[in-house]
């Protein structure tokens, strides 16, 4: 297990609990100001959820806008619409059996639908490839696949790998004797000055031994090997793999008709900011402008509604 997995999961469940508990406090607290401050906990925990999903920009946006803006607005509204001479601001609610039952049913149904009824297709389809014959090795049919760092989210060829966490995986389709080690190799695309073209350079992780891994025996399914890449610098990558041991080595894996190996390329990018910026200035430009106009209108409208009525 990679370092700090347990720690991260601990934090994850901690914040999940905080989110749900805060939501419950918002829903059930007798004191409206307490509800407001419980909402603070919810917002922070949801930001933590985004952080776990590696959506760093959205974390910042969530805290900046929700906590710094909306929550302050809400608290101000509470304080402006209650005679807060004492700290006990009651928050009357009329819970009914019907609504409670309805909410419980809703929750159950949502869980059924999300978790159990619908199996989310997340793994990337492995790409069939062949390792050509080399000295001491017959040609060999293998499956290559790549996933995001968490090992669950598949990343098809050409996908973007957030923060450069990737797991490369090779598996043979049939049990296989005598193969003990698999050597991976990764190349990074280095564009030249004109950005028009570039060259592929070998990318060396901090410890080169990392690229040579033992092959695990999966019994009937065959044999497989994987490496975890961490924090690759930003850029375009492609990778390949071959089996080798003292008995000899195979050629680099070839991707079917796509010829020479090292075809499965992916892009490592640090954080969402660049991608979001491209999207904002690209396909979402119109939506962006419309939303800005709407914000302006909301600003003016709010200022108009909330102004002090002039009594004549």
């Amino acid at each position: 297990m990679p370092i700090s997995e347990i720690l991260l999961n601990f934090f994850f469940y901690l914040f999940a609990a905080t989110a749900v508990g805060g939501g419950a406090a918002v829903a059930f607290s007798r004191n409206i100001v307490r509800s407001a401050f419980a909402l603070l906990a919810v917002l922070f925990s949801v930001a933590a959820m985004y952080a776990f999903a590696r959506a760093d920009f959205i974390v910042a946006a969530q805290i900046l806008i929700y906590v710094g803006g909306i929550l302050v607005l809400i608290i101000f509204a509470v304080m402006l619409t209650h005679k807060i001479t004492d700290v006990k601001v009651s928050n009357e609610s009329s819970p009914g059996l019907a609504s409670a039952c309805a909410c419980v049913c809703l929750f159950v149904l949502l869980i059924l639908t999300f978790v159990y009824a619908h199996p989310w297709e997340r793994g990337a389809k492995p790409t069939p490839a062949t390792m050509p014959a080399a000295e001491g090795r017959p040609p060999l049919a293998v499956d290559l696949s790549m996933t995001q760092g968490d090992g669950r989210t598949g990343a098809p060829a050409g996908a973007t790998v957030l923060d450069g966490f990737a797991r490369l995986h090779v598996a043979t389709r049939a049990p296989l004797k005598g193969v003990s080690a698999a050597r991976f190799r990764i190349q990074r695309y280095a564009p030249d000055a004109s950005k028009k073209s570039g060259t592929w350079k070998e990318h060396r992780p901090d410890d080169p031994k990392k690229l040579l891994v033992k092959v695990a025996d999966d019994g009937e399914e065959g044999r497989s090997a994987l490496i975890d890449l961490e924090r690759l610098p930003e850029g375009r990558y492609r990778w390949g793999v071959r089996f080798e041991d003292e008995a000899g080595e195979t050629g680099w894996a070839e991707f079917g008709a796509r010829g020479e190996g090292l075809e499965a390329d992916f892009i490592a990018e640090k954080g969402l900011t660049k991608a979001l910026g491209r999207a904002f200035m690209g396909p979402y430009l119109l939506a962006f402008e419309v939303v800005s106009v709407l914000l302006l209108a909301a600003l003016v409208g709010a200022a108009y509604l909330a102004r002090k009525e002039v009594k004549e």
């Binding site: 991260l8 939501g23 829903a27 949801v46 959506a55 009357e92 793994g123």
Partner: protein, 109 residues
């Protein structure tokens, strides 16, 4: 089980949390009588939706950036909505002296 717990947090976790938040928000909306509390419930619901957006956008292969974009738009719209709604709440307060949505039913008859 331990493998499930101690592996990297899977998509379902996010979905369960967002479902819980959503339901709590709905409950807040339909039981509270204070307009500001109802607004808080709305914020809960929006956050639940956002969690789903981000989770799917980050965890589905080939989903791309779109979910995250939507979550940002949701946040922006939530800001606008909060501003206007709270202005309305203050308007209600100025007219009715309190912000109880059951009292503000002049449109009824």
């Amino acid at each position: 089980m331990t493998d499930y717990l101690f592996s990297r947090h899977p998509l379902e976790n996010f979905l369960v949390i967002s479902a819980a938040l959503f339901v709590l928000g709905v409950y807040t909306i339909i039981t509270r009588r204070n307009a500001v509390s109802i607004l808080m419930g709305v914020e809960l619901v929006l956050n639940a939706a956002n969690v789903n957006f981000v989770a799917f956008s980050q965890y589905m292969p080939g989903a791309g950036i779109h979910g995250s974009m939507f979550s940002i738009f949701v946040i922006l719209l939530a800001a606008a909505e909060a501003a206007v709604a709270l202005a309305i709440v203050i308007g209600i307060y100025q007219n009715f002296g309190r912000v109880d949505v059951d009292q503000a039913d002049l449109m009824k008859e």
